[in-house]
Subunit: 247 residues, 2 copies
């Protein structure tokens, strides 16, 4: 990386961290152990100080821990969540561990907030259902999911196994049809203290805030979600094509 000569050390560290983050996400490091500083320095053509700076960035993101005499290890596998297909979390993480849901709220709402009613395309003043779940993978918090559901579908969902199953599966059973599509918006925000405590991250840690409006096959919206996802545990992935007919 001789093009780095004369570049500020912080920039070299950032670039090195980018490469390592990508490798961590790909499960590149066998046993979850990173090579030692000397080896990393050789591999990147970088100084020990630049290597330390890069590792400090990844540690601040919660991706690695460093212990004297032990070395640098990946904290937790970072799972990919595809933005290519509409899937529930448990469905997506099949084989990666056990998803459990702490149901923090599950109740009928006599009047939906106006903005939610508009999103769900029901009249202002209509009722619905509110569900809030803290989701864990193998016991470690992964996301905080809040859903506003239309009244008809929502009531059936309330009667379902919210602790054990994806809301998507419950909706499909209730509706007797498959879901159609969803519009997803992804934001990155810092965790407020309350969310940080629930998710088990430091206040100020970066988390994803996803908004997802899910529709039945006939296009009717039934589920307006807002989801906080730990960004140290989840990478969002997509394959994108240049031409609409490309896939």
């Amino acid at each position: 990386m001789e093009h780095d000569l004369g570049r500020p050390r912080a920039e070299r560290a950032r670039r090195m961290a980018d490469v390592l983050r990508q490798q961590i996400g790909d499960g590149h490091f066998a046993g979850g152990m990173l090579p030692d500083e000397r080896v990393l320095g050789r591999r990147f053509g970088a100084s020990r100080n630049a290597v330390r700076d890069a590792l400090a960035l990844l540690r601040a993101e919660g991706l690695i821990t460093r212990r004297r005499g032990v070395g640098t290890s990946v904290v937790l596998a970072k799972h990919g969540h595809g933005l290519d297909r509409l899937t529930g979390l448990a469905e997506e993480l099949t084989g990666c561990g056990t998803v459990t849901n702490e149901v923090r709220a599950a109740a009928e709402v006599s009047v939906l907030p106006d903005a939610i009613a508009a999103r769900l395309e029901v009249p202002a003043g209509a009722g619905g259902v509110y569900v809030e779940r803290l989701r864990r993978l193998d016991g470690v918090p992964l996301s905080l999911d809040t859903s506003y559901l239309t009244a008809d579908i929502g009531r059936a969902v309330l009667a379902g196994d919210l602790a054990g199953r994806d809301v998507f599966a419950l909706i499909e059973e209730a509706a007797g049809e498959r879901l159609g599509h969803a519009e997803v918006a992804v934001h990155a925000v810092t965790a407020d203290p309350g969310t940080a405590e629930l998710l088990g991250v430091d206040p100020g840690a970066a988390v994803f805030a996803l908004e997802r409006l899910t529709r039945l096959e006939d296009g009717r919206p039934v589920d307006a979600e807002s989801i906080r996802v730990r960004a140290d545990r989840m990478t969002l992935r997509a394959t994108v094509y240049r031409t609409p007919g490309g896939r």
Copy 2:
């Protein structure tokens, strides 16, 4: 929102902030002005204190400013970047303003970092091209894009108008063919001090870190990018379908 009675104020504030963030992203507020606290409180069935907490969250994200006697206004339009199609930034933001690029580095690299060579599917030790650009929309920083390109394509890109055009357009001219597809991984991280200064955000602000590996139509990877995007200025959007044949 009577289901909120008895819920901690912080949670009500988070939920209100979620709805407002979505409305800001949709360009819901005419003239970029939010209603005053009293109106918002009525609309959400929430106390003034909860409204203030929600607005404080959005202000911390850099989405709004609050000025006494003026009110609460949206800082900048938050643009959507589609994850449905492979597009360059200038191409995506056509009609939203003027994209300019500060070329911070554009040079041949005699040896690509091993991890990058592996991603680009060229032999270890192969050379390539490195391009780093700070991209602004109407003069305000939006993203810091770093690209490693294969040598053949990269040299042609170096000869192109890097200050004025998307790298994707330059690659397509150089290759004489359209791009095919790209694999995108989206991370959320906090901005390190160096990146924060370049992007004009506070250190510790949440930013997107995107990795994008772009391929020609024949599948050959030519561009391995790492991109930092201001999360207060850009929302990533996708439409996802339940069944692979759904679209």
